[in-house]
């Protein structure tokens, strides 16, 4: 890459970084305007027809300032539930909450033993430990929600630097590299096709592969299938999903790029995934109390915790798919910008 190209790339990285902090509805338009504004400034700064030096580009970018601040000025209001200025503190608080929940749950159990409400043996058994973890998860979720509300309020009311964090001045060298384009690669698409075919065949013809294995003396002796545990899978819909996924990936392999057709198929796959996950979630509510599941795990409390975690994960997966489907639909319906960006 020549020096000139490197300078242009730095401008693109800056624009991409501002865009990352902008709301999607006006991101493209603001980026396009910022692009011309930067080039206007750079060209006047260099003067004449000479090449653009990295020094001039860096100087101009420093004058425009921290991309996060520029994006905030453009949007005029916080775009985040928890913005980048307080996010590092939020992550540290979450770590403390995670450790604290486990510690608090353990302390409560020990206090119960000391108060004579529980036997010490209960606490040291696998079931007892499962109970401690279950309690810790409940505590963590409660504290997590409180932390989100507090940090969300700090962000919403724009309390600047609430934790008095010393920040280093922003420089263009801090710009992250440009993200890879989302165009499909031959290797990635091929792997997806092989994996889809493999899972489809296994689920249809060898469902006994999916379940909990039991080992005795290092030998696999028995398996409890997921359906025996209380999981119910809508196999017909799942086959349709796999079929559509294969169709999409074959088209991508042939066209070598995303098109409106493949984007619509992707959107349809997302909707179908929501239906499938929803059906599994609704039909598998008995999983935590299923005798087969409890027998398979060996302890009712551990089975309960594990079953609940699986069901919560399904719920989260549904929410993620709803969000993605909404975003994909927005991208599909959004009017396309006719003015191309160019240097």
């Amino acid at each position: 890459m020549t020096k000139q190209q490197e300078s242009y790339e730095l401008v693109e990285r800056y624009i991409a970084e501002v865009g990352r902090h902008l709301p999607r509805n006006n991101r493209e338009d603001v980026q396009k305007e910022l692009h011309t504004l930067l080039l206007d400034t750079i060209e006047e700064r260099k003067g004449g027809d000479g090449p653009i030096s990295a020094g001039i580009v860096e100087e101009v970018l420093e004058e425009f300032g921290d991309p996060t601040r520029v994006a905030r000025n453009y949007s005029g209001k916080p775009n985040y539930l928890i913005g980048p200025s307080i996010y590092p503190v939020f992550v540290n608080v979450l770590k403390i909450i995670l450790c604290g929940s486990l510690g608090l749950s353990l302390l409560i159990s020990v206090a119960q033993v000391m108060a004579g409400k529980r036997q010490f043996q209960d606490l040291t058994s696998l079931a007892g430990l499962g109970g401690v973890v279950d309690h810790a998860i409940t505590l963590f979720i409660s504290f997590f929600i409180v932390a989100i509300i507090i940090f969300g309020l700090i962000e919403r009311f724009g309390i600047e630097d609430p934790f008095d964090m010393e920040k280093e001045p922003w420089t263009p060298s801090k710009l992250p590299p440009l993200e890879e384009s989302d165009q499909p690669t031959f290797a990635g698409t091929s792997i997806k096709i092989y994996a889809t075919v493999l899972i489809m065949l296994l689920f249809n013809f060898s469902p006994d592969w999916f379940g909990v294995y039991f080992f005795e003396s290092g030998e696999k002796t028995r398996i409890v299938q997921l359906e025996e545990m209380g999981f119910h899978f809508p196999l017909l819909l799942m086959n349709i999903w796999w079929g559509l996924a294969l169709l999409k990936n074959f088209i991508l392999l042939r066209q070598k790029q995303w098109s409106r057709l493949t984007r619509w198929i992707e959107f349809g796959l997302g909707l179908l995934a929501i239906v499938i996950l929803g059906l599994i979630l609704v039909d598998s509510q008995t999983v935590t109390t299923s005798p087969q599941f409890v027998t398979a795990i060996g302890h009712d409390v551990v089975a309960h915790v594990l079953g609940r975690t699986l069901l919560i994960s399904l719920g989260i997966a549904i929410l993620v798919n709803v969000g993605q489907a909404g975003f994909r639909l927005y991208r599909l319906l959004k009017p396309r910008n006719v003015l191309a960006m160019s240097f």
Binding site: N26, V30, K32, E33, L34, T36, L37, L39, D40, T41, E44, E63, F64, G65, D66, R69, V70, N73, Y74, G76, D164, L339, A340, M341
Partner: protein, 111 residues
Amino acid sequence: MKNTQATLTDSLKQELRRGAVVLAALSQLDTEQYGYSLKRRLGDRGLNIDEGTLYPLLRRLESQGLLKSDWRVEDGRPRRYYRLSTLGQKTMEDLFAEWEGLVKTMEGLMK
């Protein structure tokens, strides 16, 4: 400590300039300008506004209905041109009258 006198003064200066910047930008948009030409025009008249403030401000004024804009390709580059809307013209006149009154009052107070 951050709350030194210099930091406080900087912060108050910024606050003082904030309203003036809006009026300054509006005052120059009776003729059509794109972002960079407006910045240069204001700079030539002694008011340097940093890019990270001026360009987003134009967007905000447009979303408030005070400016109109459209994209045009000139010199091989697409540019967004801004100009005052009817509402912007009226608002600028009101703000200018307010500004003149404020300047007179402040001059009296500062004597």
